[in-house]
């Protein structure tokens, strides 16, 4: 037990959790905490908007596998974190959000909780449905235990954001602090080991399967199970489709990779999933964008569903063999059991079917087409970027083109806002990823609409010396909604025109970043190579047609086997 202030105990608790960086913006209700940063090794990165801080913390977390931390003041600081917290919740990312709060009590003033004080917001109430858990501190002495529990909850089981709301008076209050490591949360005992009987049943079904397909989700990346997945796929000769969040869990240049499923999924993945007789779904939650209408989704297949979150079993899809456990541990058990049966299966008709379907449906870009189209650009980008490059995306057409045409080869190298679909996520997430992995190139594939939603973080990347690359596929419209208006609203375009403002090259330069424009594939290639060598953030502006659609596409209300349009 040692006596110290709440703010000092907070910093010490964060250091104990091996936090090396915090993304945040200060304000009145967190001044005592910021004063203690001056005595700490923890790097504080001053963002330009709290939403950026929260997304950066998520980018950091998803690139590194370690929890990301963001910090904001009370009231508007806290509410500005909300989109970032909701995003982390939907995509199961472990982030810790620290917020200042007005004091619990005040002598002689009414600057206190419950009096509608200056910059007071009920952030605990606001974030209760979008956090895995949240705390409001009542005494300073709770700080060490709360921080420890927050990190434990955020990073174990199905990860998610945890918020700690810290009233200002507790930051300066002196108390006896207990920094013991013991964890005891009555209502939280995450389970991780698979049930042996379920493993036995699953392997029996898989070994009998003639047309098995593996559907790999974000859970495989979270549990670091990519190697185990690769072994399972090769042992079973099962093609691997991924959910959008699972992109990167299986190398997309592997002969058994069939791409992402879903509304704008790879046609091979959508087709073969509907032909499968057994589907092994790992760490995925069967979201509506992934499955399309449920009556045709894998309708002829027996389904095995592995997920660490029991509530995901049977939530959207009825399954035959549920396994509530960690993906890595489960796949390892499955692999051991397959190996014991000693049957590495030979070339099967199904393997040939996979190969032929890929040849038929996944055509590379036409080499004679010199136009600046997203497919050629993204194929070209893959050729230039080193394999370990971390790619983030914004949301909309840029994101779906990236899912279709940019092969992710390793886990944690493709980071995008899957569940919430947050425009403006990619750029601050790229900054966070670069902080986590300073030796890897980090590229945000952006659209002009999305990038503008958090572009102010250019200042963060320049002043904090965090060089990333932003590729703006600039079609001067809010492209995805324009596409929907084109296809489903008889081309009645409403509120989609962004025009040619701003000039992204000048915008980059105004922030002290490098701005480049590419008007041909050759210029694009040169610009990316130049950006990779740059020690300052580079924005590459690429004008593309505003009429370009993302295809193929599953029309709303259809099954994924009813995809229209060419890859």
């Amino acid at each position: 037990m040692t006596e110290m202030s709440g703010a000092k105990a907070l910093i010490k608790s964060l250091e104990k959790q091996k936090v090396d960086v915090i993304f945040g913006i200060l304000g009145g209700a967190v001044l005592p905490i910021y004063d203690h940063f001056l005595n700490s090794e923890i790097r504080h990165i001053l963002c330009r908007h709290e939403q950026g801080a929260a997304h950066a913390a998520e980018g950091y977390a998803r690139a590194s596998g370690k929890p990301g931390v963001c910090l904001a003041t009370s009231g508007p600081g806290a509410t500005n974190l909300v989109t970032g917290i909701a995003n982390a919740y939907m995509d199961s990312a472990p982030i810790i959000a620290l917020t200042g709060q007005v004091p619990t009590t005040s002598a002689n003033t009414t600057y206190m909780i419950g009096r509608d004080s200056f910059q007071e917001a009920d952030i605990v109430g606001i974030t209760s449905p979008i956090t895995k858990y949240n705390f409001q501190l009542k005494t300073a002495a709770e700080i060490p235990e709360t921080v420890k529990n927050a990190f434990y909850i955020a990073t174990t089981g199905r990860p998610g954001p945890v918020l700690i709301d810290i009233p200002k008076n507790l930051q300066t209050e002196i108390a006896e602090m207990d920094f013991s490591d013991k964890i005891g949360i009555k209502g939280y005992k995450p389970r991780s080991k698979p049930h042996p009987l379920q493993i036995k049943k699953a392997v029996k079904l898989l070994m009998k399967a003639e047309k098995p397909v593996i559907l790999s989700g974000g859970g495989v990346i979270i549990s670091n199970a990519a190697n185990e997945l690769l072994k399972t796929a090769e042992a079973l000769i099962a093609p691997v489709a991924t959910s959008f969040m699972g992109k990167g869990s299986f190398p997309e240049n592997h002969p058994l990779s069939i791409g992402c499923i879903g509304m704008h999924g790879n046609p091979v993945a959508n087709k073969l999933l509907c032909e499968a007789d057994v589907v092994l779904a790992v760490g995925t939650r069967f979201s509506d964008r992934a499955t399309g209408t449920l009556d045709t989704f894998c309708s002829s297949a027996k389904k095995i569903h592995i997920d660490i979150d029991a509530a995901e079993i049977g939530k959207n899809i009825e399954v035959d063999i549920p396994i509530v456990a960690d993906a890595k541990k489960t796949l390892r058990e499955i692999n051991n059991r397959i190996l014991k049966q000693g049957k590495n299966r030979e070339d099967t008709p199904w393997k040939i079917r996979v190969k032929e379907t890929k040849q038929q449906l996944n055509q590379p870009p036409n080499k004679n087409d010199k136009s600046l189209n997203p497919k050629s650009l993204l194929f070209e980008l893959r050729k230039i970027l080193p394999n370990d490059t971390i790619v983030t995306t914004e949301v909309g057409q840029n994101q779906m083109w990236s899912a279709l045409y940019f092969n992710a080869l390793k886990p944690r190298t493709f980071i995008s806002s899957g569940g919430l679909g947050t425009m403006g996520f990619g750029f601050p997430a790229a900054i966070g990823a670069k902080v986590a992995c300073p030796n890897k190139p980090v590229v945000d594939i952006a659209g002009d609409g999305s990038f503008r939603m958090t572009e102010q973080e250019l200042a963060t990347s320049v002043t904090e010396d965090i060089p990333v690359i932003v590729i703006v596929l600039n079609n001067s419209v809010l492209g995805m909604v324009a596409q929907w208006q084109r296809l489903f609203f008889k081309k009645r375009y409403s509120a989609i025109k962004l025009g040619n403002s701003p000039d992204f090259v000048k915008l980059a330069e105004a922030y002290g970043a490098q701005g480049l424009r590419a008007e041909s594939l050759k210029e694009f290639s040169e610009a990316v190579k130049k950006a990779l060598k740059s020690d300052v953030t580079t924005v590459i502006d690429i004008p593309i047609s505003s009429e370009e659609d993302v295809t193929p596409m599953v029309p709303p209300g259809c099954g994924i086997n009813a995809q229209v349009g060419k890859y």
């Binding site: 109430g125 209760s128 449905p129 009555k186 209502g187 979150d309 029991a310 509530a311 049977g314 939530k315």
Partner: protein, 170 residues
């Protein structure tokens, strides 16, 4: 109003501020329809027991139990099968009783239903009645003819029959 589709869930939860809101929020967000919630202390310090009645098919109830289990402040959740529980609700009802005839009629009804008159004024009677929700509904239907001035129902609370209990490890 209890229907044939009404299900009963019992939960042991942390007895601290914000827990009820958190659970109610989850129900609202996921579109689960609560008919009643009762909350009170348990035999163990720091823990509260919550009895929730709601309507839905088996699949919905399974999701409700799973989603409740996910909440950190919920320590244990059980679905209580209606055949195997003792369930009670309490109602306080104030009825109009302006003359001695209606007054004695009403008191007769109270006796049949094993309720108690807990307050009397020149114009009214206040009656306490305990039982299953069906019994209370039936009693209230009778009282309607006298004129119900005010009604407070607690919602259902329940325990499973026999020695079985929802235990929480220390």
């Amino acid at each position: 109003m209890e229907t044939s589709n009404t299900k009963v869930i019992a939960a042991i939860v942390e007895n601290k501020p914000g827990v009820l809101q958190c659970i109610a929020n989850m129900f609202r967000r996921r579109g689960f329809n609560i008919e009643s919630i009762t909350v009170g202390h348990t035999e163990k310090k720091g823990l509260a027991r919550m009895t929730i009645t709601l309507s839905g098919d088996d699949k919905t109830i399974e999701q409700v139990v799973k989603q409740m289990n996910k909440l950190i402040d919920v320590i244990k959740v059980n679905y209580l099968e209606k055949e195997n529980i003792v369930a009670r609700e309490l109602a306080l009802v104030k009825v109009k009783a302006l003359d001695s005839k209606t007054r004695s009629d009403a008191i007769n009804c109270v006796e049949v239903f094993r309720g108690r008159v807990v307050d009397v004024s020149p114009e009214s009677l206040t009656i306490e009645i305990t039982g299953t929700s069906h019994k209370i509904d039936a009693f209230l239907n009778l009282m309607r003819s006298y004129g119900i001035m005010e009604l407070a129902r607690t919602g259902l609370t329940a325990l499973s029959r026999g020695a079985k209990s929802i235990s929480v490890d220390e």
